[in-house]
């Protein structure tokens, strides 16, 4: 956006500075150089091959426009200029005529030395071509040279713009080399640059037309492309010297061209601002038909008046459309407002200036301002349209990309879901299998152990079988179980321990955290801890003879500590100083070690026994 604004500003500045430079008057001869400026002449009307000495001649000052001195004349008009050859030795001299309209023949001291083209209908149109006439040295006298210029042209009323009305600028006599340079500069500004611009903008116009063709809904592209092409066709009138039609037809064609141009500008603004109206389209079409009709009626003596009226109306139409467009854009698309306002304001100002020139309120500029300003505007507005087209393209591309990425995401999610489902299925199958194994264990092994429990004659065997059954049940739980909250595990342990010790007549003091226990315990850790605790409680009941048992359970950040302390007789030492294995201490320690924890037993005759189990919570 910023880059675009910079480009736009740069283009405007380029256009304005070029205009400013071009509108400077042709550089005057430097002091000391022998260039004579002839700014007065004798003017007489008449055809023929020579200055009509027999007809009344008027002294006129140059630059002369027929409308001021020969308003009613159809021409040709002869101008007679007298000059003394500037003393430059053997230098080749030339006469430079900045503007002669429409065409001229030049005679020096009676000899024809130059012709700009056809002098009869269709007359060569040299209004924008500066003329450089080499003065043959052999014909020059030192003093009293006579330069006769026969100008063929049209009075103002027979043309549609002042630029093409008959007239002659001042004539400069000087060294050919010096004047050739001036001539080349003026040629560049009047003709070559215009031709270059025409070619360049024609490419832009064709391009926009093509874009409009393939994007039918972007109709403003079509209008703008046509607008540029019509303008370029119209501007060809300045550099096309020889038309196949006579002057009247050419002027009519130009005028019709401008009405088409106006219609296109209006249509472009309306479609660009999304304001199209059927009524306006009909009116514009009618105008395009009325213009040539009115000119046919006006011809030949009121072409300028009628066409000026039309041009004024067209300028007014464009101005109204510009205001309407800017008003709409200001409300709907603010970002378009300032660039378009600047451009169109400039356009309106130039159109008004042009009208002022045509009505004679401003002098004729040496360079046709509109011819440079408009292409710059075309370029800027065209580039803006290309930009919005490009942005739309980018947006479409972005939309496509986002769609693609959404599809990719959806696909990925589907795949993820599929993987999850597969995992879930594996989990379900595993779970089912575990349940089946657990069921089998219960049904077969459980039933057999149970039978042993209740049929064995030996109390020891039934106790062993009962313990085996409990073990089996725990193992199955470890096999099928999911992690359970530490709080639940503590509740289960408490219920069992308190109930067992209570039945055995041992007083229990159980303390464990009751609030804010959020940790989880794996099924394996639960099962192993249950076994250790069960063994410890069994020891208290069977061997200690204790009357009191304290159980403490604490949870740290990383680990979990269970302390079982009785006031019994303690565990007797074996001969090697180790604690009695019959009390199951070894298996308790082994189980704790399996869980990366430890089980410490402190005991001595008379001290009671303390069993301290520490398990890391991470692995637990």
């Amino acid at each position: 956006m910023h880059a675009c604004r910079r480009l736009f500003t740069a283009l405007v500045w380029f256009g304005l500075s070029a205009l400013a430079w071009a509108s400077l008057p042709a550089r005057s001869a430097e002091p000391g150089t022998p260039v004579i400026v002839l700014d007065s002449a004798l003017a007489a009307v008449g055809g023929g091959e020579h200055f009509p000495v027999e007809k009344p001649a008027k002294r006129v000052s140059l630059p002369n426009v027929w409308s001021s001195t020969h308003a009613r004349e159809d021409g040709p008009v002869w101008y007679r200029l007298r000059f003394d050859a500037p003393g430059t030795g053997n230098q080749l001299l030339a006469a430079y005529i900045a503007r002669v309209c429409s065409n001229a023949e030049v005679r020096l001291n009676g000899f024809i030395i130059y012709s700009g083209g056809r002098m009869s209908e269709p007359v060569t149109r040299n209004c924008f071509y500066p003329q450089l006439v080499t003065l043959p040295g052999g014909l020059l006298r030192v003093e009293g040279n006579i330069l006769d210029i026969k100008v063929q042209g049209y009075p103002l009323q027979k043309v549609s713009s002042r630029q093409r009305a008959g007239g002659l600028s001042e004539v400069r006599i000087g060294p050919q080399a010096l004047l050739a340079e001036t001539h080349a500069t003026q040629m560049f500004w009047n003709i070559s640059l215009l031709q270059v611009i025409t070619v360049a903008t024609t490419v832009l116009g064709v391009f926009l037309l093509f874009l409009g063709w393939i994007n039918r809904q972007e109709v403003h592209l079509t209008y703008f492309g046509l607008l540029i092409l019509v303008w370029n066709a119209l501007s060809a009138r300045t550099w096309l010297q020889n038309m196949p039609f006579d002057n009247g037809t050419t002027e009519q064609l130009v005028c019709v061209g401008f009405s088409i141009l106006t219609a296109l500008v209006v249509q472009f603004l309306l479609s660009y601002g999304a304001l199209r109206s059927r009524v306006i389209e009909v009116v514009l079409l009618a105008q395009c038909l009325l213009v040539p009709l009115s000119l046919v009626l006006a011809a030949p003596q009121r072409v300028f008046t009628v066409s000026s009226a039309w041009y004024l109306l067209m300028a007014f139409e464009i101005l109204v459309m510009v205001i309407l467009y800017l008003h709409t854009v200001r409300r709907t698309q603010r970002i378009h407002f300032w660039p378009m306002a600047t451009m169109l304001g400039l356009l309106a100002a130039l159109a008004l200036a042009e009208r002022a020139i045509q009505h004679g309120w401003l002098p004729l500029a040496p360079v046709h301002l509109l011819h440079f300003a408009l292409p710059v505007m075309f370029t800027v507005v065209g580039l803006r349209q290309l930009k919005s087209f490009g942005l739309a393209l980018q947006a479409a591309e972005a939309a496509r990309n986002s769609l693609e990425s959404r599809v990719a995401e959806a696909t990925a999610e589907m795949e993820r879901n599929y993987v999850q489902m597969a995992e879930l299925r594996v989990e379900q199958v595993t779970e089912k299998e575990r349940k089946r194994i657990a069921g089998d264990l219960h049904d077969d092994l459980g039933a057999k152990l149970l039978t042993i429990v209740h049929t064995s004659e030996s109390e020891r065997i039934s106790t062993l079988a009962r313990e085996a059954l409990e073990e089996m049940r725990l193992s199955v739980r470890g096999l099928t179980g999911k992690p359970l909250p530490v709080a639940d595990a503590l509740a289960d342990w408490r219920a069992e321990t308190v109930s067992r010790l209570g039945q055995a007549g041992v007083e229990v003091d159980w303390r464990s955290p009751t609030e804010d226990v959020t940790q989880q315990l794996s099924a394996r850790a639960f099962v192993q801890t249950t076994r250790i605790l069960r063994e410890a409680v069994s020891n208290v009941i069977k061997h200690s003879g204790a009357s009191h048992c304290k159980v403490r359970c604490t949870l740290g950040q990383q680990d979990f500590v269970l302390v079982v302390q009785d006031n019994g007789r303690g565990i007797p030492m074996e001969l090697d100083g180790k604690l009695d294995r019959g009390h199951g201490m070894a298996s308790m320690k082994h189980r704790a070690k399996q869980m990366q924890g430890q089980c410490l037993v402190e005991s001595g005759p008379g001290y009671g026994t303390v069993i301290r189990l520490t398990l890391p919570l991470g692995t637990a």
């Binding site: 149970l450 039978t451 209740h454 049929t455 509740a491 219920a495 308190v498 209570g502």
Partner: protein
């Protein structure tokens, strides 16, 4: 003369259970069954005061027998006799209307004592079962998860309190001391909890059956 239904597939265990039942209910007439099918037939034929029902049977689950008995003879007391001590197995039986459970491998004297307690209206309640009951009623009380026209069965504050204590690992006598309530009062709460669990579950099951019926039509 009271009648006792004894459903157990292992002959030795059935004999053992029969002996214990007779120890607790010396006057009783015991009807033995080894299969679900036989037990269901007995239910239609006789009126029982107590039923000892094993869960894992060759032709089905004892839970079905518990449900059938609850349906046919609401006053009969079903006691589940099993080697499964986990709530996954016990909870459905309790929902179906069982009034307590006994682990088969227990020494004779423990078993007899617990059976006596149950028959006197003091069923056991483990922390795991208590947690399941709490979770069950919590779900029932969520209006968005509760199907419409399901009769609203909810626990009283006291019943909830007892459940919470049990769930934390406190034994029923401890809770009695804690809440300053007699052993009988606590036992009554537990009985109410079992009854409400059964009532609510049955309503839910009936509704579910109706829904499935509607779908089948």
């Amino acid at each position: 003369m009271n009648k006792i239904l004894l459903l157990e597939d292992l002959p030795e265990i059935r004999a053992w259970l029969k002996a214990l039942a007779l120890q607790v209910f010396p006057q009783a007439q015991i009807f033995e069954a080894a299969r679900v099918h036989d037990a269901l037939a007995l239910i239609t034929a006789e009126r029982f005061e107590v039923a000892l029902i094993d869960l894992g049977l060759p032709d089905g689950s004892g839970v079905d027998v518990v449900a059938a008995l609850r349906e046919a003879q609401p006053e009969a007391q079903s006691v589940v006799v099993t080697i499964h001590d986990d709530d996954d197995h016990l909870f459905p039986a309790l929902q179906a209307g069982a009034f307590g459970y006994l682990l088969k491998e227990q020494p004779r004297e423990h078993f007899v004592e617990q059976l006596q307690r149950i028959s006197q209206g003091e069923p056991p309640l483990s922390p795991a079962i208590a947690r399941r009951v709490i979770a069950y009623f919590a779900k029932q009380n969520k209006p968005q998860e509760r199907p419409q026209n399901l009769p609203h069965v909810s626990l009283t504050d006291r019943e909830n309190e007892v459940l919470l204590w049990v769930a934390k690992g406190f034994t029923l006598p401890e809770i009695g001391v804690q809440l300053n309530l007699s052993r009988h009062t606590i036992a009554d709460y537990v009985k109410q909890i079992y009854r409400k669990l059964n009532v609510s579950s049955r309503a839910e099951a009936a509704l579910e059956a109706q829904r499935l019926g509607l779908f089948r039509r």
